[in-house]
Amino acid sequence: MNRYLARRLVESIITLFLATVVVFLGIRALPGDPARVLAGEESDPQAIAEVRASYGLDQPLPVQYVRYLGKAFTGDLGTSVRTGLPVTEIIAGALPVTLELAFLAMLVAILIGLSTGVIAAVRRRGPLEWASNSVALLGLSIPNFWFGQMGILLFAVLLGVLPASGFVPFLDDPVENLRRMIMPAVVLGSAIAAVIMRQTRSAMLESLTADFVRTARAKGLPRHQVILGHALRNSLIVVTTVVGLQLGILISGAVVTESIFVLPGFGRLTLDAVFTRDYPLMQGVVLITATAYIVLNLLVDLLYSVIDPRIRVGGAAL
């Protein structure tokens, strides 16, 4: 197990290093110069050249990369070309917003997805399965931006029961925080709930006809114990994989959701950084995203071994 973990860690570090190279070169391959974008309509060539020089953008690419990497190792991701604020500070402010949004969205998705998936499998060919499938189809087919705008119109503009936008940190005011996060979480979680529901349903259908479930029933176990303790637990392997993959989708989905609800999160930050060609900020957000992906993949691998001991045994044999 330790060797397996060590190998996965080394692989992760190499992947991260390669990601920094790709990100660095990819960003610079984009047309558009941050100093020029920053200038906007006031395109004084002299000022643009000076801004470029002040951020070292007039240096050869290898020099820029080595400087970037050297600073990144010390935790210094530079300052935003646009706002002049430290990138680490900006990301540190945005990350908790997106993490909370992702957590709440995933909570919504798992609660809805698992429950409807189980119901659809257990009550097969009944009205409840039809309803669950319909909800899943709606969740998959309604785009976030439309769902979000409709939510704002209904709950903020018409009914006035929820705020239309903005973020209040949980520690500052937990109630207000949840009031502001509930709509974004439902919007973002709805599509994922649909995916989880579909996967849970198909995995459950397979489990319910498996020998071990038949055995459990033959032993006289109560119905709910057979479904939840045996069939569902076995289905969770598939569902966990889906949840792991969907975590990545959550980050990209957060771009739209955060824009609609004007949340100062990581997704919106990424989008703004790209549009303004804010190189230090783009490098920072992509580096953090790449790290998050790598760590999550590692965690999902480890989670497999917790859920299914056979994987742990296999891992130890490596």
Partner: protein, 540 residues
Amino acid sequence: MTRSRVRGGAAVAALLLALTGCGKIDNQQQPSGGGNSADNRAVKSGGTLRIALDGEPDKLDPTLARTLVGRNVFAAICEKLYDVNEKLEVVPQLAAAMPEVSSDGKTVTIKLRTGLRFSDGTTLDAAAVKTSLDRHRTLDGSQRKSELANVKDVTVTDPATVTLGLAQPFAPLAAVLADRAGMIMSPAVLTAKGADFGTAPSCVGPFKFATRVAQDRIEVVKDPNYYDAAKVKLDKVIYRSIPDANTRFNNLRSGDIDVVFNVSPINVDELKGMSNLRLISTESLGYQGITVNIGNVAGVGKAPGTLAAPFAGPFATEAKVRRAFMLTIDRDSLNRTVFRGQYAPACGPVSPASQLSSDAAQACPKHDVAEAKKLLGEAGVQTPVKVSLTVVNDPDNRRIGEAVKSMAAEGGFDVQLEPTEFASSLDLTDAGKYQLYRIGWSGRVDADGNITPFVQTKGSQNVAGYSDAEIDQWLNDARSTQDLTKRKELYGKVVGKLQQDAPLIYLYRQKNLTGVTSKAGQVKEFGDGIIRVTTAGFVE
């Protein structure tokens, strides 16, 4: 899922679908009419005003700042040597009087108000003014360098007087000092923060900087050191960044925002129909148009030359072709179809609201397809004349592009639209890699700032690569004289010549459209597009 939940979900879904079908919410409220910037209702002390801007301000450093949204924040925290009033006349703000100009126009004396304090409590005096002006003129990356290029030196004459030595007479100086170049920063904070001044700016203003959360909000609070603090009613102003126009409008409707900057024309009628909201509408100083690449062969700032393929063509070489193209565009129709008639057609760079406007500057060649075809015939070009039009890839610009393409087709042009992401479009057009480019300018108080950088041969923003000796001379003459009548006459001549040569085809002039909750009073906005909240508050 229980049956009742299914029914509830279906009801919500049905309601959402119904809302989409309607397109807008009809709240059965009576129209309150359009608005203007005059609102003198009495306001009470206290409260927080929330303003939604259409983008995130850049650095809050007057030397380095470039964005219009940033200017809105500065209006609350950084006063200037001069300001403009509702008639767009330049008036003293931190200065005690209008500048005194020597007979040769090369020495300008500015008297300062006394007893003013920065938000950090230090005193504003002539030395502080010199520190700021010198920083504007010399700091690497300063956006004020070109604006103050004519200022050779700044001298402290006495604690309440500075003298500016100019390389050439420069009539727009007072107007320039009515913008960021005239903002005076606390020398103590400049020393302490250096290049990071923008992270905690300190100037003289009704409010002082409190905090900034990237891409979310900037908060400013009432400054007790402000010389007119008694007139300031609000405790706090929060500027939030909400780029999407619909989201801004929905936030205004829901009461999450009190003031919305840059209301979309699409939302104007609906806003006017709501009794709890009002609209401030003022003429903009800027313009929107199409820049023609005439001679930008090596990039902005380089000498104009002869274009090569694939950008060469009759548009670059034949003024008659450019004029013909201009005549095919029906500006009224463009305004009606794309902007629901909320903006104003424009044929030149001088706003009717400007003190330098004249009949000549507002002359406008009429939409005339027959004349366009005649001009093409005289130019001897084969029709349809093919040309590519670069448009920023957003809904408004794509709609403008489609409308122009359709109108131009009637006159004998085949316009190929090139939707391009904004950052890329700037790169391409600066480098001269385009034929036509749909772009605009937010506008400056003095007409010089709306013309000279764009069409003078050595203009810092001469993306068209245009060069005309007469225009260059007239613009220099207009800069050199303080005589308003003479300047109007010269800008009138410049506009006439520009309409003949058409390096820029002016299309329309935006209006500054600001939505305000009826609960807020004395929120002001003039033609410069800046929201002023010094005396604003919530109505009693």
